[in-house]
Amino acid sequence: MKQFEALTRKKDSQPVRYLVVDDSVFARKSLAKMIESFGGQVAGEAGDGCTAITEYARIKPDIVLMDITMPQMEGIEAVERIVQEHPDARVVMVSSVGYQDNILAALQKGARHFVQKPVKPDALYEIIRYVLNDDGVTTPVAAGESSR
């Protein structure tokens, strides 16, 4: 897999920590592989919205990648509850269902961005970089220097 310019935290130069939420083990593995290519670290995983909420509180990740269609509690409700408890939470929705109502609902509940599956690593990297840079979490990587 293509390697990207590592996104590191400005405060301690450590890798960005991710929480990956998807009911598909395969999807989580696939995202974990991309995160590795971004120089990040998977700090936690969850297979449903309820577990995502407890995992978020436990590991306090820099960013969450969240599926929408999941058993027990769907991603949009999980985002709402995470953002209510942690207003600075950064959640990027990653779902195969990309219609406008879904995207709007997620953004209204506090998600920062939306990526449609199948996920293209370049697109995901750019979105994560944008969200983290916007909050000053990472040191900006200049455009055109994202891959190596």
Binding site: V25, S96, Q116
Partner: protein, 166 residues
């Protein structure tokens, strides 16, 4: 069955296979069936509800599913590994997600349920009371079948259309 509702599923499968297999694929067959579904390889089912109700079954030759699992995990994968049926579920999820996104943009409302591995016992019940369209895609790693059964609720859709008064 309305082909204009089937077309987004064909386009979605074509796009997902191209992205996930990195191999060329082509439609080899399109058939209609009214009997219970007979699984051919590793299969996953996804149900959807709303103005259009039904389900899709994505059925992959084990060799094709193993190819995708191996490609995406960056290592050789044994066909017996549990990750292989997981791949079929996730691909089914992507196909239906992309298709309903297109249909939603045309005004249809949906609720998509999580995918599940389709067992032999579930197969017989899957195709009852519904006509299904079956597409067979050929890829260098094996066949991929997409079985689509859906009902369009015209009345339910028309209930949402504003009626001019006066």
């Amino acid at each position: 069955m309305r082909m204009d509702l089937i077309q987004p599923f064909i386009g979605a499968l074509d796009a997902v296979l191209a992205e996930m297999m990195k191999e060329p694929s082509k439609i080899a067959d399109l058939t209609m069936e009214e009997e219970g579904y007979r699984r051919k390889g590793l299969a996953a089912v996804v149900m959807f509800k709303g103005q259009i109700e039904g389900r899709i079954v994505l059925d992959m030759d084990p060799s094709a599913a193993t190819q995708v699992a191996g490609f995406l995990s960056g290592a050789e994968v044994d066909p017996s590994e549990p990750i292989v049926p997981e791949v079929v579920c996730e691909l089914a999820n992507m196909v239906i997600g992309n298709a309903v996104t297109q249909l939603n943009d045309r005004g249809f409302q949906f609720k998509v349920l999580p995918p599940a591995v389709l067992t032999e016992e579930q197969c017989a019940a899957t195709g009852q009371d519904s006509e299904a369209t079956i597409l067979r895609f050929e890829t260098p790693s094996g066949n991929v079948h997409l079985n689509i059964a859906m009902k369009y609720h015209a009345r339910r859709a028309s209930e949402r259309t504003p009626v001019a008064v006066g």
